[in-house]
Symmetry: C2
Subunit: 113 residues, 2 copies
């Protein structure tokens, strides 16, 4: 296997190697899509897609511990996927923009194919 024959020529191989995702973009994409690769996060996102909510509301609507919600929201903030706006003690969260919804819909579309 050490010197296995390849089925595309070296030039093509190098070209593909140049265009493959790498570096910071690779990591940023991984983090962004991690938003959608966990049931808890998917549920939080789909809830926020319906209505902006505070942490307590999210926790109540989904039946998830407040700390768990907070931890996930922290991750979502870290990748700039949510906005938060403080109003006294309450902090309202909302989705950063429509692209997050677009991605969700693309997923649903894929499953329908």
């Amino acid at each position: 296997m050490e010197n296995a024959a390849l089925f595309i020529d070296k030039k093509t191989r190098d070209m593909i190697g140049d265009y493959v995702l790498q570096g910071e973009l690779l990591d940023d994409l991984k983090n962004f899509f991690s938003l959608f690769s966990d049931n808890t996060r998917l549920r939080i996102i789909s809830a926020l897609a319906i209505s902006d909510m505070c942490v307590t509301d999210i926790s109540a609507v989904l039946g998830i511990n407040q700390t768990t919600v907070s931890h996930q929201l922290k991750f979502m903030r870290s990748i700039n996927a949510v906005n938060c706006k403080r109003d006294g003690k309450v902090i309202y969260y909302s989705l950063k923009n429509g692209i997050i919804n677009d991605v969700l819909l693309k997923g649903v579309q894929f499953l329908g194919t």
Copy 2:
């Protein structure tokens, strides 16, 4: 916290609860987006987006162990994200459809905002 006040009324809460992702769709979406939430899979996908390739090519182009590539391809097959076509000993893999590319592009678009 047991009887915490809520900031949206019960009717709205129930309505949101009804529309939040759940069940099989939730799991299927999670699996689909798992495609994009790992560096190795992202690299394989971005390589296949450029050109269909056999396992050995993918392994060589990306510098990843053949077994690792095979394991990831198995997962991708399981969620119907790739097609494979045998030609003698060689098996060529390709992306199932353009939606996978669309999703990738949405991710890039998000990062640009």
